[in-house]
């Protein structure tokens, strides 16, 4: 056995011992054991790093011991040697009885209503109540995520809720209409009401021993649920015991206001019996409206069809026929009012350019069905599901474009004005989405869709190809990760890319616009860009109090070689090189930055160089002049020599004459 992987000094995970029967869609199960506590067998889920885990909820769920849920033991980010990378691991106590169903398509032995109530429903309600107290919805309740807690396979536990975004792996038939209509990646957090619906679906599965909607395609399932209600769709053709009908009608109510709460289910378990409620279907219009070649006669179905056929829906929404259908056939004041509020008058619609069609369709969809997910250009999401959707499909250009279009559309304000219930978390999301178009539409490094990714996913690890495997979720781990990557062979040209800059800007208030502006110069290949990257990482290293990063510093020193070579003065260049080598050895990036950013030294060098060039030119000109003079020496010598001769003769003659006179006078 290879060395076990240690999680927070508490858990030993044996990566050589997979337990495939406990695998879930986005996490592989491995055998684990506690190091000190006397706990039974454990299972460690190695999460798929491409799928964001529920970081906040993992912390909130610490110490959650209610029976009825896989017992959460520990979680953390570890170095996963088989993949040679870091990833999140979530550890649970291993359920003794194994899975209830290995897949939602499985057929199992049907259970009695009494057994379901006693062994599944009762503990599940306790779990949902306790989780609700902590503000955490489960959102992973589905038949293949149920386990037997005992070897006798009697008591049923809810499986892992924390390794994936809420509702991601839930099959469509387990999701409410509102959640099911959204893209699985963009279902949003949801709530206990969605969990209760899923419990209802699981009850049917356990009663029938199979998926009640296995023969329906996703589109058919949604249309059936809309037109005939969830209860009717999921129980069609099945023989449900009378005593369970009331429970299932209560849990599978499509209107969240009619859906049973945990309290009501507990009362039912306690023996209270009421007349089953009839499912409330959406009101039908007097005549249908045709969308994409099919007729639809209620607002929810029309909204869904418009969103699905968004390419042709623009013309429909702008048409007089649609307006007539709303005002005359549907005759629902609430819908008419909502349409007027978000779309305006028919005259305004007529004036809008064709390019506005997708926006008009989105607004029409939200007016027709305010509880449904937002639909824009084929992207169907709940507001709090946009972030996870972007994170999971960031490498896909079409998804990035859809999310960008959605954010630029600024639909959240209009959508919130149509909601009947106020949610504080939505106000927070509204604040975030209102600010996002500005960074989204900036093209510089540290902005754009990458910035949106990290603003919308507060705990997502940095997706830079340089350090993705290091699973950096906080800015204080950034420098050690880049230092680690710098030691590798396949490092890119620069230690900072758009992801790292965006991640740092989104996660740290210490990284302000100045650092990003410097990184966003047009020339992304010059030393100015490298210097800006150095300033950014130096700032992070200082603020996060990271230790030295000598390899990274050496990398920067190599990248900045052209800047050193730009020093013209060779002595100064050598001095700078020596300083750089010293600073690189210390591994402190700010020291390195201070050397390169010494503008005075650069200025002095440039001025000195200009003067030296001028002097060199002057010397050259002088030499040339003298050479010319030398070539012309004979002429000059004759000219000057004659003068000199005349003067010399004059002087000699004068002296001679004076001497003669003096001689004769004596």
């Amino acid at each position: 056995m290879a060395d076990p992987i240690i999680l927070r000094e508490r858990i030993e995970i044996d990566s050589d011992q997979p337990i495939p029967e406990f695998n879930i869609q986005n996490a592989a199960a491995y055998a684990a054991k506690a190091r000190r506590e006397s706990q039974g067998d454990l299972i460690a889920y190695a999460c798929d790093p491409r799928i964001p885990h529920r970081h906040d909820d993992l912390e909130t769920m610490r110490g959650f011991t209610t029976n009825g849920l896989l017992r959460f033991v520990e979680w953390g980010v570890v170095t996963w040697r088989p993949l040679n990378r870091r990833l999140a691991v979530v550890v649970y106590e291993k359920p003794l009885g194994g899975r209830v169903a290995s897949a939602v398509s499985d057929t199992i032995e049907p259970m009695s209503d009494e057994a379901i109530t006693r062994n599944f429903l009762t503990p599940a309600m306790t779990v949902l109540r306790d989780m609700s107290t902590r503000g955490v919805p489960h959102r992973g309740i589905r038949p293949d995520n149920l386990f037997y807690s005992d070897t006798n396979k009697r008591h049923i536990l809810l499986g892992d809720p924390l390794t994936a975004p809420p509702g991601l792996n839930n099959p469509l038939f387990c999701e409410t209409l509102e959640q099911g209509m959204a893209d699985p990646e963009a279902r949003g957090r949801g709530g206990v009401s969605d969990d209760l619906y899923a419990i209802g679906v699981c009850v049917i599965f356990l009663l029938l021993g199979r998926n009640p909607a296995h023969e329906l395609s996703p589109m058919e399932l949604i249309e059936r649920k809309i037109s005939t209600s969830s209860y009717a769709t999921l129980t069609a053709g099945a023989r449900i015991q009378m005593n369970m009908v009331e429970l299932l009608r209560g849990l599978l109510a499509d209107d969240p206001r009619d859906r049973w709460s945990v309290r009501e289910v507990e009362l039912w378990i306690g023996g209270r019996r009421l007349t089953p409620k009839q499912a409330k279907l959406p009101p039908k219009a007097a005549r249908p409206v045709t969308i994409g070649g099919r007729d639809y006669d209620n607002v929810r179905a029309v909204s869904e069809a418009l969103g699905r056929n968004w390419l042709v829906a623009g013309e429909i929404v702008r048409g007089q026929d649609f307006d007539n259908w709303i005002r005359r056939s549907l005759t629902d004041e609430r819908v008419t009012e909502a349409i007027n509020k978000v779309l305006g008058s028919q005259a305004n619609l007529a004036k809008a350019p064709d390019s506005d069609n997708p926006r008009l369709v989105t607004r029409a969809c939200m007016a027709l069905d305010p509880a449904a997910p937002l639909r824009h250009k084929g992207f169907t999401c709940h507001v709090d599901g946009v972030g996870p959707a972007l994170a999971m499909a960031f490498e896909r250009e079409d998804i990035r474009q859809k999310v960008a279009d959605f954010i630029n559309g600024k639909f959240i304000g209009a959508w919130m004005s149509l909601q009947t219930r106020n949610r504080s978390d939505l106000s927070e999301m509204y604040g975030i989405f209102e600010k996002l178009p500005i960074p989204l539409n900036m093209t510089g490094v540290g902005y754009g869709i990458e910035r949106v990714l990290y603003e919308l996913n507060r705990h997502l690890h940095c997706m830079s190809t340089l350090i993705e495997t290091f699973f950096v979720t906080t800015v204080d781990r950034l420098i050690p990760a880049i230092e680690g990557a710098a030691k590798g062979r396949d490092r890119p040209r620069l230690p900072v890319d758009r992801h790292i800059a965006a991640f740092a800007a989104a996660r740290s208030t210490d990284v302000d616009e100045r650092y990003l502006r410097a990184l966003s110069t047009n020339d992304q290949t010059g030393t100015d860009h490298v210097l800006a990257a150095l300033a950014l990482l130096g700032r992070i290293q200082t603020m996060a109090k990271n230790g030295p990063a000598p390899t990274l510093a050496t990398w920067f020193a190599e990248l900045m070689e052209p800047a050193v070579n730009r020093f013209h003065n060779l002595k100064q260049r050598k001095a700078v090189e020596a300083n750089v080598a010293r600073a690189a050895e210390t591994g402190m990036l700010m020291e390195l930055h201070a050397i390169y950013a010494d503008q005075k030294a650069i200025q002095r060098d440039q001025q000195g160089y200009a003067q030296a060039q001028q002097e060199h030119r002057y010397c050259g000109a002088q030499i040339e002049q003298l050479s010319l003079e030398l070539n012309n020496k004979e002429h000059m010598a004759t000219e000057l020599g004659e003068q000199v001769a005349a003067v010399a003769s004059g002087v000699v003659g004068s002296l001679g004459a004076t001497a003669i006179i003096v001689l004769y006078m004596l």
Binding site: L570, G641, V644, V652
Partner: protein, 169 residues
């Protein structure tokens, strides 16, 4: 205009009369001077330059050669006999014409000496300037001589080679 011309002509006439009178009065000296200064007159006739450097050269030295005899004439016996005696003495001719010859010698030798001096001075200055240029290149690199681009390209190549070497490690 005509008054000025008349005045100038009168001045010239007066000067001529005075000089002629003086020449008649000092005829022995004038004779000696005229005969002694013959090389100067020859130099003046052959000197084509406006500045008359050759005439000046020869004249100064020639006059220095004539002067001792003039002084002797004035101080001993300013007579025709004495003057003719001096003119008839070959030593007098040797001194007067020898002095003129020295003037010619100075005139012919001076340009050569000056040429040598100019060349020496220019060579020294060129050497000093070249040394300064070398110092500048040593301090600031070859770019200072106007080959900066080549210099930077070479440096970049060096940097690239280093990076490649690191990548291959």
């Amino acid at each position: 205009m005509s008054a000025n011309t008349a005045s100038s002509a009168a001045t010239k006439t007066i000067m001529f009369v005075l000089i002629a009178g003086g020449a008649v009065m000092f005829l022995p000296s004038v004779m000696l001077l005229v005969i002694g200064m013959t090389p100067t007159m020859a130099a003046m006739l052959t000197d084509r330059r406006r500045e008359k450097y050759a005439t000046l050269c020869v004249g100064c030295m020639n006059f220095t050669g004539v002067l001792p005899f003039m002084v002797e004439l004035w101080t001993k016996d300013h007579s025709y006999d004495n003057a003719f005696g001096m003119i008839g003495d070959p030593f007098t001719w040797l001194v007067m014409f020898g002095a003129a010859a020295i003037g010619w010698a100075i005139y012919f030798v001076a340009p050569g000496i000056v040429g040598m001096f100019i060349a020496m001075r220019a060579d020294q200055r060129v050497e000093r300037l070249r040394r300064r240029q070398r110092d500048l290149v040593e301090e600031w690199g070859p770019g200072v001589a106007g080959s900066g681009d080549r210099d930077e390209t070479a440096q970049n190549k060096r940097g690239g080679q280093r990076a490649n070497a690191r990548g291959e490690d």
